[in-house]
């Protein structure tokens, strides 16, 4: 097995404070935030507004300097060599980052030329990206006439124009309608496969992090409270809920004994339904079905409910994620 590639991003103990106004204490936006992002994956920073996600992105993209701590992006120190970092990254900020008085194609070509592509390369790259994001039909129109979803896709295309190693997506779907949001999800899911790019995504949508990211860090009050693969975080909650439906009420007592023998916890009987907890529900089901069959009390239905990222969030932050609409 080859050695693991170096991480695409490392933030080490970042601290950033802002003036809180006259005589007010300084606001501590980042309070020792550390995170490490392996190359080639989609990584989500999840947390409410004000948790420190955007401040982290500003520091990693060289827009802001931390008060303390340091960070490396694509192996380059953001404080020592910001210019080299800027060549290696793409930024899609929270706000629309295209020029409304230019066409989609002009936006892409300008971004490409600024990143050092020749005129011919810029033109070819713009054509490819317009095609890929299905924006070719609108490419010649001024961006101010585009829909929110289209203009957001253009923002992502602009961020990718120079084939960056790391792409920052700061709340890419905030403010989009559900259909545009689904479209954006599909694009992001294709990114890591198609472009060999590491994506750092910030979001306050749990389902977005769950759906898109291979790893998630939950950020609260300027620090990472827990980090891991979404499945791993949910497993750590110990317990899928296993729900077994039986053919008749008379089977319940016997079936309960089987569940207990197979190591399921907290078995509860409600008529023909048995509910229990399992460390890994999906793994427990085949043995459970076989045992019930052998005992002559076959299951009519079995469902396994995984804990959601919501439950993970609740456990680590102590309250549910309230999202301002």
């Amino acid at each position: 097995m080859p050695a693991a590639p170096p991480p695409a991003l490392v933030a080490d103990d970042l601290v950033k404070t802002y003036s809180g106004g006259r005589k007010a204490p300084r606001v501590r936006a980042l309070d020792g935030l550390s995170v490490e992002v392996p190359a080639g994956i989609v990584f989500a920073l999840l947390g409410p507004n004000g948790a420190g996600k955007s401040t982290t992105v500003k520091i990693l993209t060289t827009l802001a300097r931390p008060d303390a701590g340091n960070a490396r992006v694509a192996g380059i120190d953001v404080l020592a060599d910001p210019d080299a970092v800027r060549r290696a990254i793409g930024l899609v900020s929270q706000k629309p980052s295209s020029d409304p008085m230019a066409t989609g194609r002009e936006n892409l070509e300008l971004a490409a030329r600024i990143q050092g592509l020749s005129r011919a390369d810029a033109r070819a790259r713009a054509r490819d990206l317009l095609d890929r994001f299905e924006l070719t039909d609108a490419a010649g129109r001024l961006v101010k006439t585009w829909s929110g979803g289209m203009s957001r896709k253009l923002d992502v295309a602009i961020g990718l124009v120079h084939r960056p190693e790391v792409l920052f997506l700061d709340e890419p779907t905030t403010g989009l309608d559900p259909q545009a949001r689904a479209g954006m999800w599909a694009e992001i899911a294709r990114l890591s496969a198609g472009e060999q790019v590491t994506v750092l995504l910030t979001t306050h949508y749990l389902d977005e992090a769950d759906h898109l990211a291979q790893r998630v860090a939950i950020v609260d009050h300027g620090r990472v409270v827990v980090e891991g693969a979404p499945e791993q975080l949910k497993s750590a909650l110990r317990g899928d809920a296993v729900d077994v439906g039986l053919a008749s009420v008379g089977d319940a007592a016997h079936a309960t004994g089987i569940l207990v023998r197979l190591g399921l916890r907290d078995v509860v009987v409600e008529g023909t339904r048995l509910r229990a907890g399992a460390d890994d529900g999906a793994r427990a089901v085949p043995a459970l079905l076989a045992a019930l069959d052998d005992a002559g009390t076959p299951a009519a239905s079995v469902t396994v409910a995984r804990p959601s990222l919501d439950d993970v969030y609740l456990k680590h932050v102590g309250h549910t994620l309230e999202v301002a609409a």
């Binding site: 930024l91 900020s93 001024l142 923002d155």
Partner: protein, 278 residues
């Protein structure tokens, strides 16, 4: 993906030298602004009509003013006297708005995207200054042509026109740098326009743009000696008239060029203050 640095073979992206990129990036950004201007024909026309109205309106209003002692009515008509004043005034007022482009870019994510890209801050500044200078050149030519059609004659000829263009562009660069710096520091359209207007009018009236300095209160003439608007007006007027005092022209052009450099540098420094607030 194991490469940790950008491999040109892998990415197909050629990274060019930083020095050459300053000029090229400035050109890209200036072209971007000119293209946006072309797409707003009403605004483009207004920027040309306004100076013509000033020229003809002030010219008619103050037509007999040259008969007052202090003017040399035999040497110049008021229209001829006024033309350099309107040229410089137009450059000054137009450039006062320059920073609004930065504010719009900041309100969208465009500024953040530029600042997180290899574009140098100097190129962001130089691009808008080049755009302002380009519009000033067009405005100046239009004002001169309209003045000639209205009967003004400029014995200074091509050299006079060249000096007029240079003075107007330098004033434009000075004011646009100031406006851009205000945009980066204040980050508010209203505040920018408020401060800019507050500065522009006194600069305009504490100069010989509309009236000979000898006609104003003594202190006005004293202040005007330190006013870049007056340097530009005097250089242009002197170069357009007969018997040009070239030392007066060159000294003022030199002062304007020096101030333009300082202001453009200060404007570029303002990016640091802006980024500290991010």
């Amino acid at each position: 993906m194991t490469a940790t640095t950008l491999d040109p073979q892998l990415t197909g992206v050629r990274v060019r030298g930083r020095r050459g990129s300053l000029t090229r990036h400035s050109a890209f950004l200036a072209i971007r602004s000119l293209r946006a201007l072309r797409r707003q024909p009403a605004f483009a026309v207004a920027t040309l009509v306004q100076p013509i109205i000033w020229l003809l309106l002030f010219g008619a209003l103050f037509e007999r003013v040259v008969d007052i002692p202090g003017f040399d009515a035999a040497r110049t008509s008021y229209l001829e006297f006024l033309t350099p004043g309107v040229v410089v005034m137009t450059a000054l007022f137009s450039s006062g708005w320059a920073g609004t482009v930065f504010i719009e870019d900041m309100n969208r994510g465009v500024m953040d995207r530029f600042l997180a890209s290899p574009v140098r801050r100097g190129a962001l500044m130089a691009g808008t200054l080049a755009y302002q200078a380009a519009t000033t050149i067009v405005q100046t030519v239009v004002v001169l042509v309209v003045a000639v059609i209205a009967g003004a004659r400029f014995p200074g000829g091509a050299a006079g026109v060249g000096v007029t263009l240079a003075s107007a562009c330098l004033i434009s660069i000075i004011m646009a740098s100031f406006s851009n710096a205000l945009a980066l520091l204040l980050r508010s359209q209203e505040a920018l326009i408020g401060v800019s207007q507050f500065v522009v009018l006194p600069l305009q009236f504490l100069s010989s743009a509309l009236l000979a300095a000898t006609l104003a209160a003594g202190w006005v003439a004293d202040v005007a000696r330190f006013n870049p608007v007056d340097w530009a007006v005097v250089a242009s007027r002197e170069a357009l008239s007969t018997g040009t005092d070239w030392s007066a022209v060159w000294s003022r052009l030199g002062l304007l060029a020096g101030l333009a450099l300082v202001m453009a540098w200060l404007g570029t420094r303002a990016f640091r203050t802006y980024q500290r607030s991010l």
